[in-house]
């Protein structure tokens, strides 16, 4: 999936995270900000990169500001930002690329 324009999803409320995606420069660059980066930074990155991979995103700048989100929330926000970027809001691959 090609990131065609910048898009944001999520909030800075507790248990949430805010994900920004924008067109990249040839690869996926992930920037993470989190109060629990030392304990969970690796896990958050892993979840975000796996989610991007499943969606077929290979070229994007991604920024995540984490406020203690669970894995399911990180996935949900990354997906929401990517699908907003490409403008798709229906006929989504639930249980396929979104899993």
């Amino acid at each position: 999936m090609e990131i065609v324009k910048a898009a944001i999803a999520g909030t800075l409320e507790s248990s949430d995270c805010m994900v920004t995606v924008e067109p990249g420069e040839g690869s996926v660059e992930l920037e993470l900000e989190s109060a629990v980066i030392r304990q969970y930074g690796r896990q958050i990155r892993k979840i975000a990169l796996e989610t991007l991979d499943r969606l077929g995103v290979q070229d994007a700048k991604v920024r995540i500001v984490d406020k203690g989100a669970l894995d399911c929330t990180i996935k949900a926000r990354v997906e929401a930002a990517v699908y907003r970027s490409v403008g798709q809001r229906a006929d989504l691959p639930w249980g396929g690329a979104i899993v």
């Binding site: 248990s15 669970l70 399911c72 929330t73 996935k75 949900a76 809001r89 989504l92 249980g95 899993v99």
Partner: protein, 300 residues
Amino acid sequence: MSHPNKKRLRRTMMFLNAQKPGLIKDPYIYKPDSIMLDLEDAVAEKEKDAARFSLFHALREIDYRGVERVVRVNGLDTDLWREDIRAAVAGGCDSIRIPKTETAKDVQMVADAVAEAEKEFGVEPGRVLIMAALESAKGVMHALEICESSDRLFGVALSGGDYTKDLQTTISGTGVELMGARQMMIIAARAAGVQCFDTVFTNLDDMEGFRKEVQTIKQMGFDGKSIINPRQISIVHEIYTPTPKEITFAEKVVREIDEKKALGIGVFTVDGKMIDIAFYDGAKRTIELAKASGVYKGEL
């Protein structure tokens, strides 16, 4: 065969905004009977898409520990509800709540979309149930046809805010403006053999008023109430828990009816009250409710 969850205990159904991770991550700790993950009114228009992703992953990954997961989809007058149903069914929800239901056709349209989604996502056919919220004069007037509209329908719920707007009045706290709708809905639900749920009580500073309202709707026959705050749960459950006196009486009724039936006696007295077979189902229900509430220690 009827769906095993159609008649499950639903004293409390707690509304939660599906778009708020902080709300949907652990509501089971408050032990409501059902949660209602909302994609409709609680979610801002520009967040409708994001809410579906949150919903899908919450349904897939959070263990709600036996609490029923109902999803309120957007209205049938929007272009959102079909995708809402796809996300909810693919996620593994237990039930779909239809807002602003006005006719049997509304329910059938949703039932068809649910069946399609079950097929698309490999969900056992007929697993996902439906409930209908009645929010207008027209919906209430069609209560019976709605209650009889689909095998998937387990119940109807009154949505008092929109209903009173449609009546051109307001919620007064006395319940007088909701009297007709409550009466019509519970009668229709019982005639059709489905459950009936009361509207939310929004004033969290008036817990005494809330308690009185729950006592009223329980007395009217309602199965439970929609709630908006965990503080309301224990009050509803307490009111719906049969008292020791009610349990003892119900046990006596069941035992006596079983015994007298074998002897060919139809009418008799228990604790000075005239009893016949018509009391049997009610007494059985009291015992089932006592069991579900965790207070039954008998052997029936």
